[in-house]
Amino acid sequence: MKKVLSYSCIIIGLVLLFSGTSRDVVAYIWERKHHQLWWGEHQSNFGDLSNIAYLDDIKVFQTPNDYNFTPPADTSGPKNIDLYLFGDSYTEDVPCAAFAHVNTCHFGRKGHHDLVYKLDKSKRNVLLIETAERYVRSNYQNGDIYNHIRKDLPPALTLAISEPGPVYASVGAGLHVADFFNPNINQNLEYLLFNVNAMNKPRLLKADMNYYLFNRGSGDVVIADDGRHLFLKETVEPKNECSSYQPFSNEDVTAWANNLNVIYEHYKAEGFDEVYFAIVPNPASVIQPANYNNLIPKLQTSPGLKMQMVDVYSHYKNAGNPRQFYRAGDTHWNNKGMQLWLMLVNEQLSRQSAKP
């Protein structure tokens, strides 16, 4: 009996280690669990940070998803713009109808699906690059963007993942030794073993205890100083390049601005009529600005910057209550924050539409 038990545990352990490494197995299980099949997974209605930190029960963070997409105010004039939007989770759900003067929309997102363009010269072709502030330095400073916003040519390798899920291994063509040593194996194992509905109660209990006793979130989530908002930990750690508080030099800003100029000129040369860059501020940058590194304003006012910027930061900052633009338990903006951004983008699109 002991022998049978031993061998069973060995086999289960090996299967788990393999599953945690395998992109395909994790993707398959995630698909099942995400749709509440098999053992289900924890899903908070109050935002991704509430979900990660299991803080569903805490009232102050309970702001529901209130996105309400309406047609743009300026509907006069032709729909003569082909909009190419390379965005992230902030903009992936924004429908084409929300943009002014737009004939067709094309959306791409890093790690999900590339933005592939085939420009119609009878239309005005506008490229809008939207990014969360935390990705400005990692995603737009090394030329990687050209792999993700590219001409309609057969790709060397694409990873098509329909929705964001747990972290997968990057498996390229062929199998390499490194594929057996997935650096994200622990996140995957944690997801496979413990992010199941049966484990929700103890996890919620622990999160509540941490909140009420120690005023702390857990894992990757940090509670704002005023106690009324959650932040992603990496956006407030001063040593993290995603952080709103990591110091940098003026030379850094100049280098980043130059890189944006190179991107701008590249896509202009490719035939785009205009290229816009829109940085959505980290919630910490506007809600808790005391030690903000001012990445966005410094970049936007950098001398010699050619890239056309959509400046949502100033509007958020100058509004009476910056908190009004973000969901309390989420990394993202709320409907108000999104509508303000849409208004600014549509102003630019109207200008483009009016051009001969």
Partner: protein, 460 residues
């Protein structure tokens, strides 16, 4: 693969169960070697080649040393040491050395691009290099015959519980155990598991909680002396729980398989002076330096002045062993000075001072020295230490709220009590062992601070 990870827990379960299913020692050694390779490769797979290279060199060096006499014997040892130290210097100190001479180079050749390596340090390099060196040195000294079985020798260097952060073992302790078939022993399994659980508790409940406060202090400027003292003291316990927690897991996981590793910590903060502290803190490293550096330098055989110089050199190099940064060098130098200049345990001058006062004073000295260990640079460390004695200005803020500060203080008290009065009766009976396991697992789960926090000593 971190000890405080799900991957390790599953890996440990699989390897241990498979270990006890195998019928002979030969197959067990192979299993442990393959498992250790997997364990090491989970950090950076290609670095296994470096480790493998030094293992092959030292394995053959052992034979060549044993077969030779006189100068050739010394030459083979020297070659082996150069190979080991060479790898260590290349990966760990090359950029540091370049950085040190960079100002001069830039002055002389302003347009010269300094060729920094900028590569990731192979994990645990300093540990397994020292362990490998102790083998060839012991063979040279005639205290250890060369190991004939290559797989056993490779496992001696790579045995996964102590591969990346020690204890730095000696061949006389480990090699005989790797040749001996260890029958399944429930008492040893219980003892090992209990020790592992205590190690996990120290790491995830105490060390990683204290780390929040310490990180806050080291990331903020303008803090009051009160805030800085709390964080400095917390760091003393953080690094202790972090490193000794790792050692507990290492010793425990080896014990489950019937293998005894050497003790690395003996309640070091209960030491009455710095000399005593170093007989209780990271024992495997301090004894390595004593046996292979301090004594060959002459030890105390050449007079008091020379003894002090030897002690200072040993501590200076011990500081450098920890990392390629002037902070570690200053940390080592400070300990060297304290050991050589302060009166030792046998001094009669301190009789009037009570034992408790001596322990507290010694703890505070060690705590101040740790500031160098934790600081990013020497300038920062001096500023921090200056802040410790500036009771006039600064803001008193903490990274933990009041409840958690009190809870942390309680955990430190519990730690001292638990380690000072370690009671084996907790695990003597199966019922009490089950209760202990339950309490530890629940405690780690509900009070653990999770987030894949790496062990501090992994960087060395």
């Amino acid at each position: 693969m971190l000890f405080n990870s799900l991957q390790f827990l599953i890996f440990f379960m699989v390897v241990t169960l498979a270990y006890f299913q195998l019928p002979n020692q030969r197959s067990r050694v192979w299993l442990l070697l393959v498992a250790s390779c997997y364990f090491y490769m989970s950090f950076v797979p290609k670095y296994l080649l470096i480790l493998g290279g030094t293992i092959v060199i030292d394995y053959f060096a052992g034979f060549l040393i044993a077969k030779s006499e006189g100068r050739p014997r010394k030459a083979w040892l020297t070659m082996s040491i150069i190979a080991n130290v060479g790898v260590l210097v290349y990966f760990k100190y090359f950029d540091f050395l370049l950085d040190t001479v960079a100002p001069v180079i830039r002055d002389l050749f302003p347009h010269y691009d300094i060729p920094y390596l900028s590569i990731l340090l192979p994990i645990g390099l300093s540990f397994h290099t020292f362990q490998a060196m102790s083998y060839t040195i012991e063979v040279y000294r005639g205290k250890q015959p060369p190991e004939k079985n290559f797989v056993v020798y490779a496992l001696y260097v790579m045995f996964y519980p102590q591969l990346v952060a020690g204890p730095i073992e000696r061949p006389q302790n480990i090699l005989p155990q790797l040749h001996t078939y260890q029958p399944y022993n429930w008492d040893k399994v219980k003892e090992g598991l209990a020790r592992m659980l205590w190690g996990f508790f120290k790491k995830v409940v105490i060390a990683d909680r204290l780390a929040i406060e310490v990180t806050h202090a080291y990331n903020h400027t303008g803090l009051s002396a009160w805030s800085l003292w709390v964080s400095a003291i917390f760091y003393s316990f953080q690094i202790y729980c972090d490193f000794s927690g790792y050692s507990d897991i290492a010793l425990g996981s080896a014990k489950v398989m019937g293998i005894d590793l050497m003790e690395n910590f003996k309640q070091p903060y209960l030491s009455a002076n710095i000399t005593e502290f170093w007989t209780r803190w990271h024992v495997s490293l301090s004894s390595w330096f004593r046996d292979y550096l301090y004594i060959p330098l002459g030890g105390n055989r050449r007079g008091e002045a020379r003894r002090r110089i030897n002690v200072f050199i040993t501590f200076l190099l011990s500081g450098l062993w920890h990392g390629a940064n002037f902070t570690f060098l200053v940390w080592g130098a400070l300990h060297g000075l304290l050991v050589t200049l302060l009166p030792g345990a046998k001094s009669s001058k301190n009789r009037v001072v009570s034992k408790v006062a001596k322990i507290v004073l010694n703890f505070l000295l060690v705590t101040i020295c740790w500031v160098f260990f934790r600081s990013p640079d020497v300038h920062f460390a001096f500023r921090y230490i200056g802040g410790l004695f500036n009771f006039v200005s600064g803001s008193t803020t903490f990274g933990l709220n009041g409840n958690e500060l009190l809870f942390s203080a309680g955990l430190i008290a519990f730690l001292l009590w638990r380690e000072f009065r370690l009671k084996s009766f907790l695990i003597q009976k199966d019922e009490s062992f089950a209760f202990y396991v339950f309490v530890m697992v629940v405690g780690c789960y509900f009070f653990g601070v999770f987030g894949e926090n790496q062990f501090i000593y992994f960087q060395f």
